[in-house]
């Protein structure tokens, strides 16, 4: 992968004092800065544990998450159900694993797909500039000005809510931010000498965008994917609280939390806190990683 243009690397690797330090490849530099950030390491470890918990957990700790057990509703934590049961008698620990699968999947798919969409859109807009850029960015502005909830209420009126529909809707609202960020970078990158050189050598716009602009925005891309995952998990939880949820056969952490909130008054705390804590832990972990990546890719801010 030709991630960074060689001439650029040289400039950045020579500190202003003129003394040359051996730093290895730019990827090693990024990796080292990332690894120095303790919070980032915690974030990565937490995500790995969560993925194992959600996907390997049900193999070890098997619970029935399909048939409600009305003989065992609202039980406090105890033997056989370490985190208690919910108002339909589902084992909450098992439901956290089950719900985690859909929550994480939504997060990953939305984070990656929306960033890819925004990346291509932003790179095209920024590279061509002029009228096309103006038009494409006004479309993004319109998207950002329409309240999210309106879109969801509208869709909920026409379509039956499903996980796929929620993913599509979340992508529709999430791709706007990466589009804008990448466009800003492409606008700056297209005036660089190496882009001019490709143009002079007869490179097509598509080649410039795919081979030269997009690889140089890799920092922005990685960071937006991480934040995108965190935000989609959170947005999903908020939407389910407002009642645009999924059928009970597809539990998510958000639906567990919003169902449990109604029983907080009854003192069934175990129906609220496990889901809330796991949402917060997941989102915090992704944000730690995103934040560290942002620092790692932003060479200017590193302490020399």
């Amino acid at each position: 992968m030709t991630a960074v243009n060689p001439s650029q690397v040289e400039v950045e690797l020579v500190p202003e004092a003129g003394e040359v330090v051996s730093s290895g490849s730019p990827w090693r530099l990024v990796g080292r800065t990332f690894a120095q950030n303790r919070l980032a390491i915690i974030g990565v470890v937490v995500i790995v544990i969560l993925v194992l918990f959600c996907y390997l957990g049900p193999l070890i700790y098997s619970t029935d998450q399909i048939n409600p057990n009305l003989a065992a509703t609202n039980l406090p934590p105890g033997a056989g159900h370490p985190l208690g049961t919910d108002s339909s008698g589902f084992n909450i620990l098992g439901r956290l694993m089950e719900g985690g699968q859909s929550s994480l999947e939504v997060g990953f798919v939305v984070g990656i797909v929306s960033t890819l969409l925004g990346l291509i859109y932003g790179a095209v807009s920024g590279y061509f500039g002029g009228f096309l850029d103006g038009l494409m960015m006004r479309i993004v502005d319109v998207g950002l000005a329409i309240p999210l909830v309106f879109l969801f209420i509208f869709m909920a009126q026409i379509y039956k809510p499903s996980l796929d529909l929620l993913i599509v809707l979340l992508v529709i609202v999430t791709w706007l931010i990466p589009a804008r960020l990448v466009r800003g970078e492409a606008l700056a990158l297209r005036t660089r000498e190496y882009v001019q050189a490709v143009k002079v050598m007869g490179g097509t716009p598509w080649r410039i965008i795919v081979r030269h602009l997009i690889p140089n925005t890799i920092g922005t891309i990685v960071v937006t994917v991480t934040f995108g995952i965190a935000n989609s998990i959170l947005t999903l939880a908020v939407l389910q609280y407002l009642g645009f949820g999924l059928p009970p056969t597809t539990p998510t952490w958000g639906s567990m939390l919003s169902d449990g909130v109604t029983s907080l008054q009854d003192g069934y705390w175990w129906q609220v806190y496990p889901a809330l804590i796991i949402i917060v832990i997941t989102v915090v972990a992704f944000n730690f990683i995103g934040d560290a990546l942002q620092d790692a890719f932003d060479v200017r801010l590193q302490e020399r």
Binding site: R138, V142, I146, L242, G254, V283, V284, D291
Partner: protein, 314 residues
């Protein structure tokens, strides 16, 4: 500068038009007929046709959109047939109350977030910075309703300090007469914005600290206090303009979730209830208003930035 403002205004008008067009198209895609909703299922075909004619609903889409725009230009946001009131009159009572909620929490969160963010930037990667980062990340990572519900659980159910419901006064002033009921909604919204604001201030201050003029100021022997107040604080404050600009929609039209949790009688709650009772005219009106306010907020942020930072040339 004037050229920039004019160009930016032109863009904003286009974006507002885009918002109205998309919202109008979406409402047209919804199933059902307004005439049937209002006149009932036993209305005669003649009555339906008459209603449609009176409300221009028998016209082509483009003409209907034109009528809709004309109404908007006159400041008419629509009519709630279910309440038999204009959306304007609904909002006229709700927006001042949102101003109380949003304004108070904007001021509070700025007052807390600016010093915290700058202190974190100065002590970057020290223990204090990690604690600040941890707190704002946890707040930021909680769904908004969870923050509000935890506050209710703690301060209203466990310890009966503040009521869990916002005051239901008819005017903004009567809301202020019952400050106890305002505490929890304002505190929730403040915590939500604080998480974003302090992160933003921190990274903006870190950017400023990396500037050459800070190094120069230190190199010429300026005391750390002067460097921080004269050079860092003043330059970081430019970022506040952006924050205020982006908060304008919340201050003016409120936030749906916080209002829903506390039953705060503002535009956000109205919007939520309109959605539950399928009152599309109200939803349309509020959506357009939020769109306009968002665009204006961005405009204010951009122009304010350009005025305050003389380095920015357009």
């Amino acid at each position: 500068m004037t050229g920039f403002i004019i160009r930016r205004l032109g863009q904003s008008v286009i974006v507002v038009l885009g918002v109205t067009l998309i919202v109008f198209i979406m409402l047209h895609l919804l199933p059902g007929s307004l005439a049937r909703d209002i006149l009932g299922s036993r209305a005669t075909a003649q009555a339906i046709a008459q209603f449609n004619h009176q409300n221009h609903l028998d016209q082509p889409f483009v003409i209907q959109y034109w009528y809709f725009l004309k109404q908007l230009l006159h400041g008419n946001l629509g009519y709630s047939y279910q309440f038999n009131r204009s959306v304007d009159s609904l909002l006229a009572t709700e927006l001042p109350r949102d101003l109380v909620l949003g304004g108070l929490s904007l001021i509070l969160s700025l007052m807390i977030a600016i010093p915290v963010g700058i202190a974190q930037a100065v002590k970057r990667n020290k223990a204090g910075d990690y604690v600040g980062t941890g707190v704002s990340f946890i707040l930021y990572s909680m769904p908004q309703y969870a923050i509000a519900l935890l506050l209710i659980q703690l301060l209203s159910i466990s310890f009966h300090v503040f009521p869990a419901e916002a005051p239901q006064g008819t005017s903004a002033l009567s809301m202020l007469e019952h400050p106890a009921g305002l505490v929890l909604p304002v505190a929730s919204l403040t915590l939500v914005s604080f998480a974003y604001f302090s992160r933003y201030m921190r990274s903006s201050a870190i950017d400023t600290l990396a500037q050459d003029y800070i190094r120069t100021a230190r190199a010429k022997g300026l005391s750390e206090r002067l460097v921080l107040t004269r050079h860092l604080l003043r330059n970081s404050l430019i970022a506040v303009v952006t924050l205020v600009g982006l908060s304008i929609p919340v201050v003016i039209t409120g936030t749906l979730i916080i209002e829903q949790v506390f039953n705060f009688p503002g535009a956000g709650l109205e919007y939520y209830q309109a959605a539950l009772r399928n009152d599309y005219e109200v939803m349309l009106g509020i959506t357009v208003l939020v769109g306009v306010v968002t665009v204006v907020g961005n405009l204010v942020a951009d122009i304010g930035y350009a005025i305050l930072d003389p380095r920015i040339r357009y």
